[in-house]
Amino acid sequence: MSLSRIKLLYLKEMREILRNWGLIILLVFFPLIVYPTSLLFLSELSASQKAKLESQKSHIVIKGAAYCPELVQMLKDDSDLEVALSDMAPQDSVPSVNKVLINVPEDIKDIAGNGKSVSIQIFYDLTDEESALAKLRVQEVLQDYKKELTYRRLDLQKLPPEFLEPVALNFKNVASEKKMVGQRLGETLPLMLIMFIMLGTIQVAIDLTAGEKDRKTIQTLLLSPLSRLEILSSKLLVVLTTTIFTTTTNFISIGLTFFMVASAQGKTGPIMLSAGSIVLSLLLSIPLVVLISALFLLMGIIAKNQLEANIYVLPVLLAGMLPAALPSLPAIKYDIWMNLVPVANTALMVKAIFNGTYTMTNYVMTFLSNSVYAVLMMLFVSKVFMQEDIAFGGLSDVIFVKKDQKMPSAGEAIVYFCTVLTLFYFVGVPLQTKYQKFGLVISLVVCLMLPAFLLIKRFRYDIRKVFKLENPGPVPLIAAPFIAWSFIIASQIYAGFQEQFFRTPDEVKKMMETIVVASNPQELIIALLVVAATPAIFEELAYRGFILSGLESSMKRPALCLMVGFLFGINHVNLYTLVPITFLGAVMAYIVVRTRSIYPAMLIHFFVNGTQVVLANYLTKEVTLPPYAALIALAVMAVCLKVIPEKQISRSS
């Protein structure tokens, strides 16, 4: 790899970008102009609308005015209120005719002296701005009336006003103004920072990759003596330059806009004090910028053209925004485990920087962990860029290719998975909620099996090959229960470990228990059939059958097993069990690939679910296993996997 050639290509790419006025306007001038302009326009518009609203009188109507002329007079004395008296006014005249309706009860007469309490009903519509304002105005008058009555009663009893307030509560916020500003900024700025990074990266990354394919210049470049790694490095540097520039520009623009607002209010101090936090946050985000840039370059590289790249970018963008929004959620703080989650770690650390709770050790750890992710992503992208199918075409060319006409393609497997998940959300979940065990069986048939059989019939696939309905031999079947039990032991210990930093809510635990708990032997058999046998058959046919058969034409074994496991984990729609289910799914995928048979996976699946049903019903007290039991269990599992013989595939098959 030659640095001078990387520099040369970098200069060429930058020269082109700087001549692209559309991009310059979008990346530089747009953020510099849009924030102050929109803030100015919005604040002016808001002030004008508020003034207009407040200048209007609020029309209110009083029912039962005769019972309390004093209150009516107080309301009439308020210059902002237009009072009408009508005992016939209906409730639904609010807010179209009257903005507030006050219903005064008859027993309010002599209320000051009789020591009783009555209720005045005030009808208003909170969705109507005028009604909401009228309610506030009325509330103010009514509070005065209430206070007046209270003092009158105290007078009658010859009691001092302090009688009503034996203890005065005096709350004092010890947070400094700087800290308060930091707290508020810490909740909003991480999302903005990550959004700026992503938006700044996307356009340039796609233009430099998928754009080159569209403009037919990629081959011109690939024919030069530059290696693909040199080409990729230059492009990454260009994306980094523009992203860092646009992110900084965005921040400067927002900072200046806030400063303008704060200057008008004479409160520039806290903003100035936050400048250091902004610099620290920008420095922290550098490895994240590299990671995101590499990720979007990957989207552009695997796309056939810019249109396809935009399709790939959208889900990545949404997936990135979710962890970026974590700082705004309650009780989520930066911790050592959160540090392993890219994007979330930066977002939470930026929040910690702004509210002053960060430590330099955590700061460095976030920086380092993102750096590791960035390097890994770059290596992966360079590996993908080496693929000639990808460099000249796109992922869609590769994944929809049928290497075996009797089997689904990887693309079809992905489409099938998306269909399954959609059906599961909109058909399966309502069915399970309404009919529970019966709903579970029906949803497995409708959501998993129906689409698979329709695809097999439509494309005339070999059902035996797709579902891997082959004899596995005795060894995998004998090993199946040991693998299942090893998994249960390891996953129980893992669950205890996970609970320490990611607690499963009690409602989720209860919901899981209701499906498996049986009150008599008949119910237990039904639970075993519904929770153990049915998913063991249908989920295996879907995941280790259809999806694995489709994906295996395009993926190498480790990636294939992990991918099948991950999709299986996602399908359970439970974040708390995602890791163990993904692991189990990957192990079962490995066994199916090794034996070319679905039956061992079905048996393992049955034993895992079945054992859990039995344990939930017969285990009377909670058993805590020592951590080393997980290691023993995993060792047993590894031995079982090792002894399962690999079935050789003949070339003719």
Binding site: K12, R19, T220, L222, L223, F392
Partner: protein, 249 residues
């Protein structure tokens, strides 16, 4: 004479979305010596571009070996790419670079010094009659002018092997003439040239030898008179049509 290009029993398979595995180039062998223009003829989809991409080390053969200027394409792709010049419909110019910048940057990619680029470029600009377009951005050039810039970009490092994939398609008569002149000039300088084209007259005028391919298979090869004679036809066009018809039957 030492061959500049030696293609030995090369096959290339692709996976097609509808047809599954497809053999685009089937067990083809060819060679081209320095100072020789080898014409590669075939209808659309015959596999010409794939062969040329494999020779330029952009694609890897599924079977067989290719040696270019003494380097194996699988083992030394960068050495090969630094010694060839390639033009095709898929090697467009960068829209926002000027013609001069385009030539300059590619000269630098090929490791030339500023002085070397200056000297080489001056000659090319004169011979291709392109001085008036040097300061214009490529997006503002006509198809013919763009092709001249492509040629200059391809020749700036004085490569011993030129690969030209339909270089005169859709060009006007004058630009086509300039490019044919440049090709002949390059042959006279001792460069090996692989020339793929649809225009039979152009092939007859330029090429020393030809190979005819159809659906990835080699139909015939040799000098034009020999190939025409073997087919029992009167012209290269008739010979081409006859061989393709026979292959399809």
């Amino acid at each position: 004479m030492e061959q500049a290009v030696k293609v030995d029993n090369v096959t290339k398979n692709f996976y097609d979305m509808k047809r599954g595995e497809v053999t685009v180039v089937n067990n083809i062998s060819l060679s081209c010596a320095p100072g020789e223009i080898l014409g590669i003829l075939g209808p659309n989809g015959a596999g010409k571009t794939t062969i040329l991409r494999m020779i330029s080390a952009l694609l890897t053969p599924s079977k067989g070996t290719i040696e270019v200027l003494g380097y194996d394409t699988k083992e030394h792709p960068q050495e090969i790419r630094s010694r060839i010049g390639f033009i095709s419909n898929d090697t467009n110019l960068y829209d926002r670079l000027t013609a001069e910048e385009m030539v300059y940057f590619f000269g630098k990619f090929f490791g030339l010094s500023d002085n070397e680029i200056g000297t080489r470029a001056e000659k090319l600009y004169d011979s291709l009659n392109m001085r008036r377009i040097l300061k214009r951005q490529c997006r503002n050039l006509s198809a013919g002018e763009k092709q001249k810039v492509s040629v200059a970009r391809t020749l700036i490092h004085d490569p011993p092997l030129l690969i030209l994939d339909e270089p005169t398609t859709a060009l006007d008569v004058l630009t086509s003439r300039d490019i044919r002149w440049m090709v002949k000039q390059s042959r006279n300088e001792g460069k090996a040239i692989l020339y793929s084209a649809h225009n039979m007259e152009e092939v007859e005028n330029l090429c020393d030898r030809i190979i005819l391919i159809h659906q990835g298979n080699l139909l015939d090869e040799g000098t034009i008179p020999d190939v025409v004679k073997r087919s029992g036809t009167a012209s290269l066009t008739e010979c081409f049509l006859s061989l393709v018809k026979d292959a399809e039957e």
